[in-house]
Every structure is written in structure tokens, then in C-alpha cells.
């Protein structure tokens, strides 16, 4: 069953310098109980997308078009009040910075109780407290009764991220959006948090959108991957295929930038150049100035998202049917 369907989502920011397309014609869907990774560099539009799904991107200078269908509701058409009833209830989000994401003046327990008391009006404070302690135990916090009364500054980064997860799952979460949840944590804690998220996902049959620039996290967590570049999807495919056989030159570049234990190399291969300025996008395919395989056609025309026979989608002329990857192999 499809839980979330994003159709033709376009997000524009108006500024004094001009209009910036932060997200351009985004399409993806997510089945209940499954997980999707959205991968891309800073400025690729992945965080903007997640904030839009949460309804947290409301601003006079923002123009959002398209549809976001969640569980039978068009989120973009809901009033702020209706959206608020979904936010923190059936859609929740955890953020990159656990150190600053919790209010320093409130106890952790109080912060976990808050969404319960907002969204479940029939629940008493006593019951909410009981539930919050239960949640603390669920996210693996030792001696939860005592920790309930502690403040964020008394906890480590990993613990605080566990608290954030407890807050996010306090109600009937169907979709959890995790925006770089492990980036600020050290590696061993990263693995623990990802394990926790994976087990909770199974236990609660919940869907996860994992926003990250870390392909390792995607491999561990996600069934499908969407690779974004300059606000557009450049590749959409099942996770194992992305790693085994990446299609888009940008995806290849990202994978080449990961160090491998088996290869002894002096330098990692980086993608040449930088992300183009959003106000001054290159003509044709936005990746062509950094692309090894770029042809003249790439500088003139914008490729569409081509669908391959196996269902994968890629935005590159290499795969527009006629040649189907031959060029890439030749270039290799």
C-alpha cells in the first residue's frame, strides 16, 4: 500500500536576486513499512523536500506546486491547523543536530510528553508520563524513570538522538523523516542509532525517509534510493542496484568518492567542480559542467527521467534508449 506519493513537486524561493528553484518536478512514492533514501550534496533540495512534507516550509517568499499525497490526504491543500494535527502525530521528523534539537530548559521527559499531550487529548498527564518512560525504554535509554527527569545537557549526543527518536515516535507515527540523523554522531553511535531505527521500523510497520549524503547509511537502511542533484532526481533505483551498477554519472562519482578497504589508492576520486549557483544554472543538463561523459547535446537539452526495462529511472542522455549505456562502457 502506498503511504506517501509525491507528484510534480516544485519549490521556488523568491529572493531579491531572483527566483531559485530549490526542488524541480520531484516524483517519488513510498509504500507503507518501506524505506527510501534521498541522497545528494548540500543544496540538492533534499532537506527542503522533507520540510515541505512536514509542512514546515511556509513563508511568503516560497512557492510550492504539485501534490503530496499522504494516506489519502493532499498535504499541500491542508490548512495550517489540519497540518498541525498530522505533524508530530502520523508524520514525524528527527534532525541532524541532536545537541541543539532539544530545549535546554525542559526535562527530557517533559519534551517526550509534549506531542502525546497535544495529539491525544484524552490521555492524562500520568498516562503520558508512563508512556514517555515506556518510550525511553524502547529507544534503549537505561534507567528511564530516572532519565525522565534529566535535562538534555546531562546526556550525550547519542542519547539525545535517542530522545529525539522517542519524541518522534510518541504518537502513531506512520512516516518518520530522518534528516541526516547520524551525521553529528561518532561512528559506533551511528551504527547503534541506525540499528534502533531499523528495529523500530519493523516493529511498528512504519515508513522511513532517510535524508543523507552518506551512502553507507543508505546501504544499511533503505530499500530504494533517490539521488538528487540541483533539486532534481537524477537516479531512482533499488538500493542494491545503485551500489552494484550505478547508472548516472553523478551517482558513479558519489560511489567512487567512498574509500574502499580493498583498494590501495593514494587519493580518493572526487567529482570535479562544485554544485552550480542556484541563481545561475548551466544550460541543458545541470550536471554537464562536472560530467566526464558530457556531449554537446548535454549542454543544449535537458534530459528527462528515462525509465529502464528493469524499472530503474535515470536522468541522462546516455540511457535515452538508442545507445543504452554503451557510451559509458566505452568511456570506461
Amino acid at each position: 500500500m502506498t503511504l506517501l506519493k509525491v507528484e510534480d513537486l516544485t519549490i521556488k524561493f523568491k529572493s531579491r536576486q531572483g527566483v531559485v528553484k530549490a526542488v524541480d518536478n520531484l516524483n517519488f512514492e513510498l509504500a507503507q513499512g518501506s524505506s527510501l533514501g534521498i541522497v545528494g550534496e548540500s543544496g540538492s533540495g533534499k532537506s527542503v523536500t522533507s520540510l515541505t512534507i512536514m509542512g514546515l516550509l511556509q513563508n511568503a517568499n516560497t512557492e510550492i506546486t504539485g501534490n503530496i499525497d499522504f494516506d489519502g490526504l493532499d498535504l499541500l491543500k491542508l490548512s495550517p491547523n489540519e497540518m498541525r494535527k498530522i505533524r508530530g502525530n502520523s508524520i514525524s521528523m528527527i534532525f541532524q543536530e541532536p545537541m541543539t534539537s532539544l530545549n535546554p530548559l525542559h526535562t527530557c521527559g517533559k519534551q517526550i510528553m509534549e506531542p502525546i499531550l497535544i495529539h491525544q487529548k484524552e490521555v492524562s498527564k500520568q498516562e503520558a508520563k508512563k508512556h514517555a518512560i515506556e518510550l525511553l525504554r524502547m529507544v534503549g535509554i537505561p534507567s528511564p524513570e530516572q532519565r525522565f527527569h534529566e535535562y538534555p545537557h546531562q546526556m550525550s549526543g547519542g542519547m539525545r538522538q535517542r530522545i529525539m527518536i522517542a519524541i518522534a515516535l510518541a504518537c502513531n507515527t506512520k512516516l518518520l523523516i530522518a534528516d541526516e540523523p547520524t551525521t553529528a554522531l561518532d561512528v559506533t553511535i551511528q551504527a547503534q542509532i541506525l540499528d534502533l531505527m531499523n528495529s523500530l521500523k519493523k516493529k511498528r510497520d512504519m515508513s522511513i525517509i532517510m535524508i543523507t549524503h552518506d551512502l553507507g547509511v543508505v546501504k544499511e537502511m533503505c530499500e530504494k534510493v533517490v539521488v538528487m542533484y540541483t533539486g532534481q532526481i537524477v537516479e531512482k533505483s533499488p538500493t542494491e542496484l545503485v551500489f552494484a551498477d550505478p547508472l548516472h554519472p553523478y551517482t558513479k562519482g558519489l560511489l567512487n568518492a567512498i574509500p574502499k578497504i580493498s583498494n590501495k589508492v593514494e587519493r580518493l576520486e572526487a567529482i570535479e567542480g562544485t554544485v552550480p549557483d542556484a541563481l545561475n544554472m548551466p544550460s541543458g543538463c545541470s550536471f554537464h559542467p562536472r560530467c566526464k561523459y558530457a556531449t554537446e547535446k548535454c549542454t543544449l537539452e535537458v534530459p528527462t527521467l528515462f525509465q529502464l526495462e528493469d524499472g530503474r529511472e535515470v536522468k541522462c542522455f546516455i540511457y535515452d534508449g538508442s545507445e543504452k549505456g554503451d557510451d559509458v562502457n566505452a568511456a570506461k
Binding site: 512536514m54 514546515l56 498541525r84 494535527k85 498530522i86 505533524r87 508530530g88 502525530n89 514525524s92 521528523m93 534532525f95 543536530e97 541543539t100 534539537s101 532539544l102 530545549n103 535546554p104 530548559l105 525542559h106 519534551q111 509534549e114 506531542p115 497535544i118 495529539h119 535535562y151 545537557h153 529525539m164 519524541i167 518522534a168
Partner: protein
């Protein structure tokens, strides 16, 4: 916590000693003659009276032995006798202090309530018309000299519009009740004399507003900038993602965090207010410490000048101590060991 307070109070003793020494020396350095300031012209012409005056107040002794004598008295809790009033300085201070305390509390309440309210409104409606108006008022608060503002306010509200009574603490036809705390609002409220209560309240509004105006501006500006900063914090985003109403976000999450630096500014503002007291009390004929300080200074009444300075220094330190304690109450990250 208790050890922290004890340490600060011990520090207060040293500070008061330093203040007394400093003020004593400073007031004797002033190139003016206390004899000339206190005796009439005819008495000054009589060398016997002058000699007797000097002997009575110890002015014939060396500065060092005067200082020694003063500190000997201080150690026994004796602030000396005022040359001008002829009464013990301590009694004078106790008589005038309640009026000042009442006025400064009212001024501070006005400053805090309006300052926080204005700052919050300003931050929420950032760059809208209301924000610009409030910011103009706040900047006027911190830049308008209080004596000028006091005169203008008196003229407008008392003389022209007749809304508020003129200078003074109570109506001249009413008598000050005996005993009590000396805080007339409190005393009249406790005794159920509501006619006196409203009279006192009406007399407090103008000087309270004038005195609190500077601090109000300070607090409004600080509240605005802190609240704007706090509203862009990650934990406010977390609160939004929980589905809280915007008003609940501001009340429950933003304001308390924005108040931490405001407390510091409010403390500075309160101490500042004590300085503004001298001018405001004189213009409003307020029978308080400010007026007492002014009259003592012009008549070079050394014991009174030192007494007022010690009292102000004492209040200063106590307020700062209270602010430090308040930090610990509001912010769980602050712990005093």
C-alpha cells in the same frame, strides 16, 4: 548554592569597605568647604561659631584621623550623624528608603512588563509597522535624558491634560499613615484604605514610567533580538515538528530561553535606575534617597554622602546576587558549587 551565597555576602563586606573608603576620600577631595555650605553668612563671620562647628563635626582633625574615626563607627554599625539634618544617617536612610524602594519597584515592574511585551510583539511582527513603532519607542527610551522626559511628562499629563496629580508622593491634603513598612501602596492595601491606595498609585504612575523608561527600552531591545535568535534555534524547529501551535511555541519554548540574557540586562537596568533616581526624585518632589543624596551632596554632608553610597552599593550587590540566583532557577545548566 548556600556556599555560593555565603561567599558572595562575604565579598559584599569587602566591597562596602572599599566603597566607604573611596567615597570618603572623594568627598573630601571636592574643593568646597562644608563649613561654608552649612553655616549662614552671619555665623561664618563669627570665628567662635566656625571653630565650634569644626570641633563638633571633627573637621579640625586631620583627614586620616577623621577616616579612622569614621571606620571605627562603621564597624559598630553607626553611620554617623548627618550634618545637615542633625539626625543619625541610618535613621534618615530608613526614613527615605521606602519611598525610593516603592518607586523603583514600580518603575521596574513597568519596565519589565512593557519591555518584555514590546520586545515579544516586535520579534513576532518583525519588520512590520508595529515593530518599527516599538523600536522607535525603545530607542527613545535608552536615549532620552530622564530629567527632560520627566518635565515633559509632568507638563503634558499633569498640567495640560490633568490626568495625573502633580509632583509629590501623596495628595497634600492626605496625611501619611504612621508605622507600617513605609511602602504606601502596601500599607494602604493592608489597612484597606483604598482611597489612599489609588492616590498613591496615581502619584506613582508618572515618576515610575519616567524612571522605568530607560530600562524598558533596554529590555525591549534585548527581548526582541534574543527572541529572534531563539526562534531560529533547532529546538524551536523540533517544537514545530511536534505540531505545537505557534503561540505555544513562543510561550513554552522561546520566551523562557530568550529571557536568560534579558535577566542580565534587567539587573543592569535596575542599577541604572538607582542612578536616575536623583534627578527624577528631585523633579517629582519625591521624598526618597535620591533627593536626600542630592541635598546631602550640595551641603557637603560627608556622613550622609557616605551613607547613601554604602546603601546604593549594598543594593547593587544584592541585586546582582539575586540575578545570579535567578539564573540557577531558570537555567538547569547553571549550577553553583
Amino acid at each position: 548554592m548556600l556556599r555560593f551565597i555565603a561567599r558572595r555576602l562575604l565579598f559584599l563586606l569587602f566591597l562596602l569597605f572599599g566603597v566607604a573608603l573611596f567615597v570618603f576620600i572623594l568627598s573630601h577631595l571636592v574643593p568646597s568647604d562644608p563649613v561654608a555650605a552649612n553655616l549662614s553668612q552671619s555665623a561664618l563671620n563669627n570665628p567662635e561659631i566656625v571653630a565650634a562647628f569644626k570641633e563638633k563635626w571633627g573637621l579640625d582633625q586631620s583627614l586620616f584621623s577623621q577616616l579612622l574615626l569614621y571606620f571605627q563607627h562603621l564597624l559598630t554599625g553607626d553611620l554617623g550623624t548627618s550634618i545637615r539634618t542633625g539626625r543619625p544617617v541610618f535613621d534618615d536612610l530608613m526614613q527615605f528608603f521606602p519611598a525610593t524602594l516603592e518607586l523603583s519597584i514600580v518603575a521596574m515592574v513597568i519596565a519589565l512588563v512593557l519591555g518584555i511585551l514590546f520586545g515579544t510583539i516586535s520579534a513576532i511582527f518583525r519588520n512590520k509597522a508595529i515593530d518599527h513603532i516599538i523600536r522607535t519607542v525603545s530607542i527613545s527610551g535608552v536615549s532620552i535624558p530622564s530629567f527632560w522626559f520627566a518635565l515633559i511628562m509632568l507638563n503634558i499629563f499633569s498640567s495640560v491634560l490633568g490626568i495625573t496629580p502633580g509632583p509629590g508622593r501623596i495628595d497634600t491634603r492626605t496625611t501619611t499613615p504612621e508605622g507600617g513598612t513605609g511602602l504606601l501602596l502596601l500599607d494602604s492595601f493592608i489597612s484597606g484604605n483604598f482611597q489612599l491606595f489609588s492616590d498613591v498609585a496615581m502619584h506613582l504612575i508618572l515618576p515610575g514610567t519616567v524612571l522605568g523608561f530607560f530600562t524598558m527600552g533596554l529590555i525591549a531591545r534585548q527581548t526582541r533580538s534574543n527572541l529572534l535568535e531563539v526562534l531560529s534555534m533547532d529546538y524551536v524547529r523540533t517544537a514545530r515538528s511536534k505540531g505545537l501551535k505557534e503561540s505555544a511555541i513562543i510561550v513554552k519554548h522561546a520566551i523562557s530561553n530568550a529571557m536568560i540574557p534579558v535577566i542580565t540586562v534587567a539587573g543592569i537596568g535596575f542599577c541604572n535606575l538607582l542612578g536616575g533616581m536623583v534627578l527624577v526624585e528631585n523633579i517629582f518632589a519625591w521624598p526618597g534617597i535620591g533627593q536626600y543624596a542630592y541635598l546631602s551632596a550640595v551641603s557637603l554632608d560627608f556622613p550622609a554622602i557616605c551613607g547613601v553610597s554604602l546603601l546604593i552599593a549594598f543594593i547593587y550587590v544584592v541585586i546582582n546576587l539575586l540575578i545570579d540566583i535567578l539564573y540557577g532557577v531558570i537555567d538547569p545548566r547553571v549550577r553553583y558549587e
